[in-house]
């Protein structure tokens, strides 16, 4: 195998890693804020899936990627806010409501997909996905430019969000309040600050991120909706948060590891690795269990994660 060929493969693999990382990163960062606010939301998978379907359907119906994008985000927010009503206001068991949202999403999108299939005359319409944006100057850097700076606009946004969320959580008074919510919501309540208001806000942010992630999946990474296309990414986001110890930068690292595993899987077949592709597909999931086995730290897990707040 020639050196040039090897290099081309590596570049395309790392470039794919960064591309694949974007939705995973968006949804993980959103879920981080949600969990820091004390809400243990397992329904991100469903939220993303609903957003992906909505984004696809809206962009096909309107022939506009932007309307699709917006619709996806709105759906993500709507699903997350329904969690807010159930978990924060009605104080239903967060674990079960999250699972319920996942089940509802997979059933409903499958049904609506099949029905819309009929509507579109038995054919699956494809969309012309968002193009990548080469950053002027930076994308000219050899190798690195191709890997990092010739990506979708959402990829840049996802990486920027890591910094934004970090600064918010650790450098602002509101971030301090969100962190305090997960640790001891009563500390806010006794000072007359609304616990539920902040939890709604955190979920709205998480919904924006999950909606964006779902939309990116359909509108940038592929050209059509496939039932259950999120394929466990929402669950991976939850693993990533545990592995990243509820901190933005380690979460970024964990996202890159999982994204690399997936990119490797995509490339491995192309370069004739003689491994069953299912093993490669299963790698992120096996990796998640192994990663958690090695984890000895749980220090930053919010104390009140998943515990509904009652004033008593």
């Amino acid at each position: 195998m020639s050196e040039l060929f090897t290099q081309a493969i590596l570049v395309s693999m790392f470039s794919a890693t960064v591309r694949i990382a974007a939705p995973l990163l968006l949804v993980s960062i959103g879920e981080l804020v949600v969990q820091r606010a004390g809400i243990w939301f397992l329904g991100v998978e469903g939220s993303m899936l609903m957003a992906a379907f909505t984004a696809y359907f809206a962009s096909v119906a309107s022939s506009s990627l932007y309307i699709g994008l917006l619709a996806g985000i709105v759906m993500g927010i709507a699903v997350h806010l329904s969690m807010a009503v159930a978990a924060v206001t009605l104080k239903i068991n967060q674990f079960i409501i999250g699972l319920g949202i996942n089940l509802l999403a997979s059933g409903l999108t499958l049904f609506l997909y099949r029905e819309s299939f009929k509507m579109f005359g038995g054919e699956v319409p494809t969309i012309r996905p968002f193009e990548t944006v080469a950053l002027p100057g930076l994308s000219q850097i050899p190798i690195l430019g191709e890997i990092l700076f010739n990506q979708h606009i959402f990829t840049y946004l996802a990486f920027a969000m890591v910094g934004v969320v970090w600064a918010f959580l650790y450098r602002t008074r509101y971030g301090l309040e969100i962190r305090a919510l997960g640790e001891n919501p009563k500390a806010l309540d006794t000072k007359g600050l609304s616990v539920s208001g902040r939890q709604y806000a955190a979920l709205a942010f998480g919904g924006t991120m999950a909606g964006l992630a779902g939309a990116v999946l359909v509108l940038a990474l592929t050209d059509r909706f496939v039932p259950n296309m999120t394929n466990g990414r929402g669950w991976l986001a939850i693993v990533i948060i545990i592995a990243g110890n509820w901190k933005p930068l380690p979460i970024l690292l964990a996202v890159l590891v999982f994204a690399f595993l997936e990119a490797f899987q995509l490339q491995a077949q192309g370069i004739g690795f003689n491994i069953p592709y299912q093993l490669l597909l299963a790698l992120p999931y096996i990796g998640a269990i192994v990663a958690m086995m090695g984890l000895r730290w749980r220090s930053e897990q919010p104390e009140y994660l998943g515990v509904p707040y009652h004033r008593e």
Binding site: I92, I96, N102, L103, R114, M292
Partner: protein, 357 residues
């Protein structure tokens, strides 16, 4: 003069009747909601639901079909109930169901024995396959502190890919087979019908047996007592000699074994082959069944029958009214959501307060 005032109060306990009413209200609301959805999509929802009813209960044959559909749901429902009663949040029923069916199928690929030996072996293998995967999650928790939710979800995906590999590599698939599915299971390994000409097979009887056994186990035995104590308050349970590690592994193994049996019942009693999609969704449906049944084995039998009827009727509805049967899994989730919301409302009651003025 006395005037009456109404005050909203929290009740201490909803009780069996309250839970029953709550489930009925949730199912009714789910029908209304999905009926609206169908109407919006241009279907005649009354006709569709009528087809659903006929499909589920129209003839004795259809009722038998509903029972056959209910059997695996009863098993996964029981699997969920066992774990959740101990407040161990396992959602690995899907993977354990496949694992049970896969291990059982593995034995049939080389065993050539009469049915009288093969059938019990197949059933045991199903329990073993599911139990091993459940126990693995338990060990991962107690030995390495891997979250049970995470390990069970990840194992669901891993097992699905393992089956996919066994099929596409044609280890379990005939070379000329087009669909991703195994060869048909040999006659002597299939679960026999309960009587000549019946649609009900041994698996349905096994499900009824499992419901009764679990009812006794949870409510009447010292083990069930320890398990419920652990679920109610693991700290107090530990102070009173209930070892948490042992409890977690035993409960998850038992839960996995039940799910595994569900896999055998469906694939050896109905499908007669394994495929990537035949078993899909029984795990999550079982979760909904168990939650709506209040994690009580006897109620799980009833709710599983209702859900089995939905599934059976859904297939008929697809043919008769051209409504995709995928609506059924959406409806199951909608029932769960309405059930959760009504459970909050049912916690309160209006009480009349008489005041002297």
């Amino acid at each position: 003069m006395t005037i009456s005032d109404y005050r909203i109060e929290k009740r201490a306990d909803v009780g069996m009747i309250g839970l029953f009413a709550q489930a009925l209200v949730a199912i009714a609301l789910a029908f209304i909601a999905s009926g609206l959805l169908l109407t919006v999509l241009g279907f005649d929802s009354v006709a569709a639901f009528d087809a659903l009813r006929k499909g589920a209960f129209g003839t004795w044959r259809n009722v038998q079909g509903s029972l056959v559909h209910a059997a695996p749901l009863a098993f996964t429902g029981l699997a969920v109930a066992v774990a959740f009663r101990a407040r161990i949040w396992s959602i690995g029923q899907e993977g354990q169901l496949f694992a049970g069916a896969m291990l059982a199928y593995f034995f049939t690929t080389f065993l050539n024995l009469p049915a009288i030996i093969t059938v019990p072996l197949v059933i045991l293998a199903g329990a073993l396959g599911g139990g091993l995967i459940g126990g693995l999650s338990g060990k991962l928790k107690t030995r390495f502190n891997v979250d049970v939710i995470v390990s069970t979800v990840m194992l669901n995906y891993i097992i699905a890919y393992l089956l996919s590999y066994l099929l596409t590599s044609r280890i379990w698939m005939a070379p000329d087979e087009y669909y991703l599915q195994t060869d048909r299971i040999p006659q002597e390994a299939r679960l026999p019908n309960l009587w000549r000409g019946a649609d009900l097979h041994l698996g349905v009887a096994l499900a009824v047996l499992a419901i009764i056994v679990l009812h006794v186990l949870i409510n009447r035995t010292t083990f069930g007592f320890s398990m419920r104590a652990f679920g109610g308050n693991p700290v107090a349970a530990r102070f009173k000699g209930i070892e948490p590690r042992r409890m977690i592994v035993i409960v998850l193994t038992l839960s996995g074994a039940l799910a595994g049996l569900g896999g055998v019942v469906q694939s050896f009693g109905v499908d007669f082959r394994l495929s990537q999609t035949f078993l899909y969704g029984y795990g999550s449906a079982g979760l909904i069944v168990a939650v709506i049944a209040g994690l009580r084995p006897l109620s799980i039998g009833l709710v599983a029958f209702i859900f089995g009827a939905l599934a059976k009727g859904g297939l008929f509805m697809q043919v008769m009214a051209d409504v995709s049967s995928a609506i059924i899994s959406a409806m199951q989730a909608i029932i769960l959501m309405f059930f959760l919301v009504t459970s909050v409302l049912f916690q309160y009651r209006l009480r009349r307060v008489d005041r002297d003025v």
